[in-house]
């Protein structure tokens, strides 16, 4: 019996010890710091600029990950197995920290570059890091103005060891048309894989509205490609239908911002007339008031 009691006591003591250690470990972390996570992306745009975007999310009191504002993110590039600090940036309200990368990033043997994003010694967020490896790729977009078939061709190439461009086969390219507030898929199935020449092509539809002269901007993108990240290019051509702009976009009508003239004239005449009479009454009151001064002057003269 005694041995059982001793065993239970020992078990409780060990459990208590572990709980104590666990609590102590929890307390050893800096109080008030939130657990954070980084999503790192790479973008190469049509103007050949390269950017790294780190989206930071941190756990709130409800245990949900929400965008972390104003977190300092350090961006490193790995060069000869060592991390070199590129830039630092603070996250905005959406939790995004963006830096523009240099054009000649140091490459490893596999011709890839490695970018590391870190939160280090931040007052609000726990330390965390994320890295990405991508190869540099070019996306060339060709629109031939003389092509009656209106063939849009995008060619994906990567840089070989000798510096030559090598076509990339099997890369998925998505085609869009630029609109005022965003992009629209150029065709229903707008994802096309490149062939052995690294080319993906499709016939541009004839019924897409362009600007007033029919000019449209075609956008080709590789999105979240495992090897190359996000690469984009744009080209313009007069392949759209000319947009007929309404010469009078805001006609005078009850349901438009501009009121119809008869309504303006009627209301102005009616109420303007009434206010004119009011001002006439004010004028009469002023005359009544002025008479006081006149009579005072007369009275003085009389005296």
């Amino acid at each position: 019996m005694n041995s059982i009691i001793k065993g239970i006591s020992l078990a409780i003591a060990i459990t208590g010890l572990f709980c104590g250690i666990a609590t102590a470990q929890d307390q050893s972390q800096a109080p008030g710091k939130s657990e954070a996570a980084i999503e790192l992306s790479y973008y190469k745009k049509a103007d050949m600029s390269k950017t790294a975007v780190a989206v930071i999310k941190a756990k709130n009191n409800d245990g949900k990950f929400v965008p972390a504002k104003n977190a300092l993110v350090n961006f490193y590039v790995i060069h000869d197995s060592e991390q070199q600090l590129l830039k630092s940036a603070n996250t905005d309200n959406k939790g995004q920290a963006v830096i523009v990368l240099q054009k000649d990033l140091p490459l490893d043997e596999g011709l890839s570059f490695t970018i590391v994003a870190k939160i280090e010694n931040d007052n609000l967020y726990e330390d965390v890091e994320e890295q990405m490896h991508y190869k540099d790729a070019n996306l060339i977009l060709n629109l031939n103005p003389h092509d009656t078939a209106r063939l849009v061709t995008a060619q994906v190439t990567k840089i070989g060891k000798d510096g030559k461009e090598i076509p990339v086969e099997g890369a998925e390219v998505k085609f869009y048309v630029q609109r005022l507030f965003g992009i629209m898929p150029a065709v229903e199935d707008n994802t096309i894989s490149t062939d052995e020449k690294g080319e993906a092509s499709f016939a541009f539809p004839k019924n897409i509205p362009g600007d007033t002269t029919g000019v449209i901007t075609v956008v080709a993108r590789m999105e979240d490609n495992e090897q190359f990240g996000n690469v984009e290019n744009k080209a313009t051509e007069s392949w759209g239908t000319a947009l007929a702009v309404d010469k009078d976009p805001f006609p005078r009508a009850l349901w438009e911002p501009n009121a119809p003239l008869p309504l303006i004239i009627t209301i102005s005449t009616l109420f303007g007339g009434v206010w004119f009479i009011y001002f006439f009454i004010f004028y009469q009151l002023r005359k009544i008031s002025k008479e006081k001064q006149l009579s005072t002057v007369k009275e003085r003269n009389h005296q």
């Binding site: 009850l254 119809p260 109420f271 206010w275 009454i281 009469q284 005359k287």
Partner: protein
């Protein structure tokens, strides 16, 4: 004749004394009354600040009923404001001599009810700081914009219409206030001097004043009619069952005149009793204005019949649901009490001379005013609770509405504000247009004198003719045979 002149002078002097007496002393009861009003207004202000801080969610209004007690009260106050136009302008233009003692109180009621009526839509706004946007981004096509323009125009006109006949009275107050032994009296002297515009009563000043008053009398009537017509457009120009009516303009104007006339009668009765004006506001005045109120109630009843009978005959889907609710649903008690108790019953009462007596008429008018207020509520709220699209996927509470303490408190504060301004006015200025009543007495006196002179002249003429007849008669000659 010298004695008669003396009597006229004495009568006018008594009138002046009677009219100016209330402005010279603040009795205990007046102080208690003002204290009570200030308490109600203070509590209402506190509730309004609470509403401003926490939003309209503290009221009972929700998505569907966004125009509750506040907008109903707005329509009611604008209706009451027609009193000044009715009594003062219409009776002035038709040269009704008996109007003289009651025009001031009617014009004042117009001014004050418009002042507080205009505030009600601002109170109903969740963000009153955006009020300037109505002017900055206002669209002239919107009935709301017309309403703002019409109410501002009517308010300016009513202020002028109230002020113009006050000028000679202000000069009287100024001249009578000779001893300024306290800061308040000094303030009053200053106020009277400023407001009298240096009135000396010269021929030219009288000419200008009378010309201005004639013009304003003519102008204020269409402006007043336009205001309530435009208020009705706010409702009638939206696609909602119960509001989609072509008769809404005249219906609102008639309703306004009906409640406005009752408001004037109540004001008359109160000031007559409080300020001992029985000599000037006589049972004849009650009888005559009672007849007008009766005529207006009949017109209102006729338009009421049209407003409900025609859609009730058709019972079209959405209108049918609304009318069912009004006729035998959740609002039926209030609806039928309004129709029978506050329209038909007053018609019956006022049809009899005893119903237009000094005692009975004000009681009837209390019923009319209360009924008019409830009627405005019945125009606004049930329609909002019967939209064309069914109320769904919202909390159950949103499908019904009854004002809560915040709305009642703020509305009560506005009503108290009306009483407060009227009380202050009556303690500063005469509640009867002294010079107008004097003019009436003078006209009456002249008439009497003319009648007496004519009677005397006729008597003399009869005497002379009688004597002439006597001398002209030739003796009858005896026939000769």
């Amino acid at each position: 004749m010298a004695n008669e002149k003396y009597n006229l002078k004495q009568e006018i002097e008594t009138l002046r004394e009677d009219c100016l007496r209330p402005t010279q002393k603040w009795g205990r009861s007046a102080q208690i009354w003002i204290g009570c009003l200030l308490i109600v207004m203070g509590w209402g202000l506190y509730c309004y600040i609470h509403q401003l801080r926490h939003g309209l969610g503290v009221t009972a209004m929700r998505d569907y009923v966004s125009w509750g007690l506040y907008i109903s009260t707005f329509v009611f106050f604008i209706g009451i404001s027609h009193s000044g136009t009715l009594v003062s302008a219409i009776l002035r233009i038709t040269k009704q001599e008996w109007r003289r003692p009651i025009t001031r109180s009617a014009e004042l009621l117009t001014f004050v009810s418009l002042l507080f009526g205009g505030i009600m839509p601002i109170i109903d706004m969740g963000r009153p700081d955006r009020l300037a946007n109505v002017v900055i981004f206002g669209r002239l096509q919107s009935p709301l914009m017309w309403d703002v323009i019409a109410i501002c125009t009517y308010f300016a006109g009513s202020s002028l219409f109230l002020f113009l006949p006050m000028i000679p009275d202000m000069a009287l107050c100024r001249d009578r206030l000779t001893v300024c032994d306290s800061p308040f009296k000094k303030f009053k002297k200053w106020l009277y001097t400023k407001m009298s515009l240096g009135w000396k009563g010269t021929k030219s000043q009288w000419h200008r004043l009378e010309k201005s008053m004639t013009i304003m009398t003519i102008v204020i009537i269409p402006v007043a009619v336009s205001v309530h017509t435009v208020v009705s457009y706010i409702f009638a120009m939206t696609l909602r069952p119960g509001w989609n009516s072509t008769v809404f303009g005249p219906y609102f104007v008639a309703g306004a005149l009906y409640s406005g006339s009752a408001g004037v009668i109540l004001g008359m009765a109160v000031f007559r009793k409080l300020y001992h004006l029985e000599k000037y506001i006589t049972p004849r005045h009650f009888d005559l204005i009672g007849r007008i109120a009766l005529a207006l109630t009949l017109i209102y009843a006729y338009l009421n019949l049209n407003e409900y009978w025609i859609p009730a005959y058709k019972m079209a889907t959405a209108e049918g649901h609304l009318l069912s609710d009004l006729f035998y649903g959740s609002y039926s008690k209030a609806f039928w009490i309004c129709q029978f108790g506050t329209v038909l019953l007053p018609i019956i009462i006022m049809s009899f001379p005893k119903g237009r007596s000094v005692t009975m008429l004000p009681i009837t008018c209390i019923i009319i005013v209360a009924g008019a207020w409830v009627k405005r509520y019945l125009i606004v709220v049930p329609t909002l609770l019967h939209p064309f699209m069914p109320i769904q996927e919202v909390p159950g509470k949103w499908s019904s509405y009854f004002p809560n303490y915040v709305e009642f408190s703020v509305t009560a504060a506005c009503l108290a504000g009306i009483f407060f301004v009227i009380t202050l006015f009556s303690k500063l200025f005469p509640m009867m247009a002294v010079w107008e009543v004097e003019e009436g007495i003078q006209i009456e006196h002249d008439k009497q004198t003319a009648i007496e002179l004519r009677t005397k002249r006729e008597a003399v003429e009869v005497k002379i003719i009688g004597e002439q007849v006597k001398t002209d008669i030739e003796p009858i000659k005896q026939p000769t045979y």
